[in-house]
């Protein structure tokens, strides 16, 4: 088992933010904080509602319905379409890949195990201010979570060399958390795994998010909440869109949007910060409408469209997917030609 590490940063002088500097980076975004504005909230909701007004209708751009070859049957049409950041990202990347990944339990992987362990260790650090033995603490926490029983069994059953590799990576990331994350003032009401839900289209659609860390008293007059997502894996471009989705859901359920959304990468200590602006929220609305329409259509029997993308190489449908195979071949050829010719 290997944890693939890419170069952290081009500059050797770069160091992760720590302590007060990390907090300051979250607090001071350089942009004015949005005010509590029922009109803005109304416009965001109105745009979503009108964008989803005809979900399920067979408009000119609606895909043909039917049962796609090699794809599982869609869920019942009576079910609420739940839109999460992962479902949104997945369906926008490729509907067929999304549908293939929706059914059945995904087999555990070292990255999944590391992510789950680091998530609970981060919660521990926020709640009690310290991490003792990362692997022991993390396994104890996963052990009382019903949803993690398969993962716990899988970790326990790992050959010792692989378990040691996992332990080493978890300890390295936990050490980074300890060194970089300051104690959060209790008066800022830090809370972990906060659930957020917004109903749309008369309850037929639910936007759902669970944020790793929320800081700040819920907004009244001015945006006052920071949302932070913790990632134990590599930095990916879609993480930014995930944050914007969180900002949108919070803006719809609270009097004011969050003032900032951020991703903290425990592997490197990088912190990506996005100040929340009206433009960011409007962009998130557009993306959410497009993704939700796809999810709705799939839930109502549409044939999943195949869209070649960077995930094709890891897709279970690849052996039967011509566009995906062509994409992988092009990609491999580009790598073989070297970085000069690579696209």
């Amino acid at each position: 088992m290997k944890f693939v590490r890419r170069p952290l940063r081009a500059s050797h002088d770069w160091h992760p933010l720590a302590g007060e500097a990390l907090l300051e980076r979250l607090r001071v975004t350089g942009r004015p904080r949005l005010q509590s504005d029922p009109d803005l909230q109304g416009r965001l909701r109105g745009s979503l509602e009108s964008g989803l007004n005809q979900v399920g209708d067979a408009g000119p751009d609606a895909p043909a319905t039917g049962s796609g070859a090699g794809t599982p049957p869609p869920p019942s049409s009576s079910a609420v379409v739940v839109v999460t950041k992962d479902r949104l990202t997945g369906v926008l990347a490729c509907e067929a890949h999304h549908v293939a990944g929706e059914f059945g339990d995904r087999p555990p992987t070292p990255a999944m195990a590391c992510g789950a362990l680091v998530d609970v260790l981060f919660r521990q650090l926020i709640a009690v201010g310290s991490i003792d033995d990362p692997m022991a603490d993390g396994m104890a926490a996963l052990g009382v979570d019903d949803r993690q029983q398969d993962l716990v069994s899988w970790i326990v059953g790992l050959p010792s060399a692989e378990r040691e590799a996992l332990r080493a990576e978890v300890e390295r990331q936990a050490d980074g958390l300890r060194r970089h994350w300051p104690a959060l003032e209790p008066a800022w009401l830090p809370r972990t795994q906060e659930s957020m839900r917004v109903g749309l289209a008369h309850g037929a659609v639910e936007l759902s998010a669970r944020v790793d860390l929320a800081i700040g008293r819920p907004a009244e007059d001015e945006a006052s909440v920071a949302l932070v997502e913790i990632k134990a894996g590599a930095r990916r471009v879609e993480h930014r869109a995930d944050l914007h989705f969180y900002a949108l859901v919070e803006a719809l359920r609270s009097p004011a949007p969050p003032f900032v959304v951020a991703t903290y990468y425990t592997r490197t200590g990088e912190l990506d910060v996005d100040p929340v602006t009206e433009e960011l929220l409007v962009g998130a609305v557009r993306r959410t409408i497009v993704g939700t329409r796809s999810l709705w259509n799939l839930a109502h029997g549409a044939v999943p469209r195949r869209t070649p993308n960077s995930l094709c190489g890891r897709c279970t449908l690849l052996p039967e997917c011509e566009p995906g195979q062509a994409r992988v071949e092009r990609s491999e050829a580009a790598w073989a030609r070297g970085p000069e010719d690579g696209r």
Partner: protein, 304 residues
């Protein structure tokens, strides 16, 4: 609804009115309608009905026929009672916020159990036996739950300190003894004893009319608050009326709760229902429908 608005709305003088005749009628209706349903229950089985059952019977009736797993403590089960104790400690001025309170409150509970053997929350032995990482997860869950309640109200504005948690209200249906209704609320607070007249009362409709709402023993009506996950259904008013219904049935000498606030922190939604005869009747409808669904689920053959 902002914290000060919700607090004001909860503590406002009562606007609905439920007289004794209405209460008697509700009790009689439940007895009449539940008895034949319970007659179809397998021998000597009892049905305990709570608000979660009302919601499940309407939204996921198939889940009623699933066999219940034997109870074991989990972080999500402990978070409510620990979270309530945490908010109570904050409201009492001992701590500034749930994050500060949760560790000491949990430790005190365990110490008290170790010293006296008394389990205030029932989870103390389980919690004490957990490893450090698992204990931290329990505390994290409780902080998140408690913070949503703590941030929902303007605690300084309560004229009388609210009671947080406490025992469930319970009512055993006299003609259908196998049915036990349980009502639970997270917060209860006394509200004004005077307010506009209720329907049918002397002086009803006259401007400025007031009515003494205190109970036989001088008890003042209370307002309840109920916290739920997810989003409210379109039948939220009847669901919120359920804990008021059970409180009204359980203790005929005490005034019927004046109102119930529902908090759905996930959705950022706070709704308030003023309790009157009509909304209590809608709660009775839901109880009858729920018991019917639960009885049918019990009659289905269970997997071996």
């Amino acid at each position: 609804m902002r914290p000060e608005q919700l607090t004001r709305a909860l503590m406002a003088p009562p606007v609905g009115y439920v007289d004794e005749a209405c209460r008697t009628q509700l009790r009689g209706r439940l007895s009449r309608e539940l008895a034949p349903l319970v007659g179809r229950l397998p021998h000597r089985q009892r049905l305990v009905v709570n608000l979660a059952d009302l919601r499940r019977a309407r939204e996921r009736p198939d889940s009623l026929s699933r066999q219940q797993e034997p109870f074991t403590w989990k972080p999500v089960f402990a978070r409510r009672s620990l979270g309530l104790a945490v908010v109570d400690a904050c409201a009492g001025g001992r701590f500034r916020s749930p994050a500060e309170a949760v560790g000491p409150v949990a430790s005190e509970a365990v110490e008290e159990w170790e010293r006296s053997g008394w389990r205030t929350f029932h989870w103390e032995p389980w919690f004490a036996g957990l490893d450090r990482g698992a204990r931290a997860l329990v505390l994290s869950e409780a902080v998140t739950w408690a913070t949503s309640l703590w941030a929902s109200f303007d605690w300084a504005a309560f004229e009388v300190p609210p009671r947080l948690g406490g025992g469930d209200d319970q009512w055993v249906c006299p003609d259908a003894g196998a049915v036990i209704l349980k009502g639970r609320s997270e917060l209860r607070v006394p509200v004004g004893t005077t307010g506009p007249e209720g329907p049918g009362a002397e002086g009803a409709g006259q401007e400025g009319a007031v009515h003494d709402r205190s109970g036989a023993d001088g008890a003042v009506p209370v307002a309840l608050a109920s916290v739920a996950s997810g989003r409210p259904s379109d039948a939220w008013a009847a669901e919120l009326a359920y804990p008021a219904l059970v409180a009204a049935l359980r203790s005929p000498s005490r005034p019927v709760p004046a109102r119930v606030a529902g908090l759905w922190p996930d959705a950022g939604i706070h709704l308030v229902v003023d309790i009157d005869g009509e909304v209590l009747a809608s709660a009775v409808d839901r109880v009858v429908a729920t018991v019917s669904a639960m009885v049918e689920a019990r009659r289905l053959p269970q997997p071996a």
